[in-house]
Symmetry: D2
Subunit: 158 residues, 4 copies
């Protein structure tokens, strides 16, 4: 079966026109329900794409398995931004990328981008790690920090 | 780049556990935004999948290119149904299939199914072909009829 | 504050042009995100409206409080249908109605309609009541049956 | 019929706990489809609320009637942000507010907020005015500027 939402490796990303510093991304295609009455992709749909790649990234980077189990830290989006550079249309194929740029004690800032040949949109999200019951902030485990540094060259912000 | 929403051929469908009479389908994967508060795929999301495969099918079968151009017939959904057989969950891979089962003078009935190993859901839609300005029903072109018969064994209903 | 999604009583429904047998409905208004590239309300959006009125109905009729608590039966949609009679557009005000037409031992069939001056769409859903853990079907409590009969004239199907 | 999405006047806003500088807002209620698998309002849903109040605001302030007509300037969102302060849950009633804070020659920056008793979220959007064919930026008409200043105390940014 055709692999879907499978993370692309660095060489696949470069072949798709995705430049440095991106090393994690998934390919997808514009769907009819993402268009609005102006017949282009609605600006909110990009936030959905950022969410889709974020969830996948969290699993692949070992941050959370989204099992909602008693040992699973909760990840809460505290802030989000998006910049729209060029419109997108029905059936366009694109790659949406994700990386962690900065870490603080219990939160981290992710960056996103959408490429379809050229760069179409960028975004950010501030994600806070909470205890499994959601009651308090939780320091990022060292293993997660190491992964963010190794794979994304994330910087520690004091 | 990884092919996305690419129609699967008959042998790929069979390899994915999709049985007769299906000969058209696309592979996809459950996304976080398709879950609801019960933590399974919301029943409305399946209708989105049927829409996604329907739009793709219309293009591939030469029924409409969705260009909204002056020569493009409009396709209007007049009725829709869905039956939910088993729940679906985050990250599940599935194939959603489509075929035209029946044709009338200016409309046709499509059938859909969702397979993820086994059958999870089925659906139907009655689609009416309208003139490009949307003002009147339009008979199905003979070429479209022939394609529905040849590829889907669609039956003519008088 | 302006009451929102507040159920309309029978006289308010009649004033809004909603005919018999409807006695439960909520008023709302088409939003931009419910339009698709054809600039009318997408056919899937109506299913969202049916869901919104259904959730509210379940609470008001005492069927479920959607608390996901250990004593709360789960309500699962087993089938859904919609018929589209006339298109709807940005900013149109409408009333979406709900009633239970038929009851079986552990399930019931609801009907829905959308009125905006005249009738725009209808729908149905088959809802199955499950035990709180979702493991088995659960007979409809007598109190729920009585409410369906008293308020909606629901018929028992053997 | 119950007024829906009707803009609240200043005294209604104050009665709903909406503080200065907000003078435009609409009341609404959390719907089931806005919840995600964590059982609270998904962070993307707030962007939908900002869109809904923005479209209504544009019509009421005389910026655009969204008719897509040959004389109607196009409004394009160039950037969007959201900050999430407290979670929101099923059936919560809220007011989402909008104002224009800054104007440039062919664009303006809007601010949004969500109140449900207390402040739950804030957001911004940079909106660019384009010619009806979407081909070029278009200076904000003087009448629009005057309205932004008079109603929202918008500041001109050179």
């Amino acid at each position: 079966m055709t692999p879907m939402l499978t993370p692309l490796d660095r060489s696949q990303l470069r072949a798709a026109g995705v430049t440095e510093p991106w090393s994690y991304g998934i390919a997808d295609m514009v769907r009819f329900y993402e268009l609005d009455a102006l017949n282009h992709v609605n600006n909110v749909a990009y936030l959905r794409w950022f969410e889709t790649v974020r969830v996948r990234y969290m699993i692949d980077y070992g941050v959370s398995d989204f099992s909602h189990g008693a040992d699973t830290p909760q990840l809460v989006v505290r802030a989000a931004t998006a910049e729209y550079l060029k419109p997108m249309f029905q059936n366009e194929r694109y790659v949406v990328t994700a990386r962690t740029a900065q870490m603080r004690s219990a939160s981290f800032t992710m960056e996103y981008a959408v490429f379809a040949g050229d760069l179409r949109a960028t975004g950010t999200a501030v994600v806070v790690m909470m205890t499994p019951d959601g009651g308090a902030k939780m320091p990022l485990p060292q293993q997660v920090r190491d992964t963010f540094v190794r794979r994304d060259h994330a910087r520690q912000i004091t």
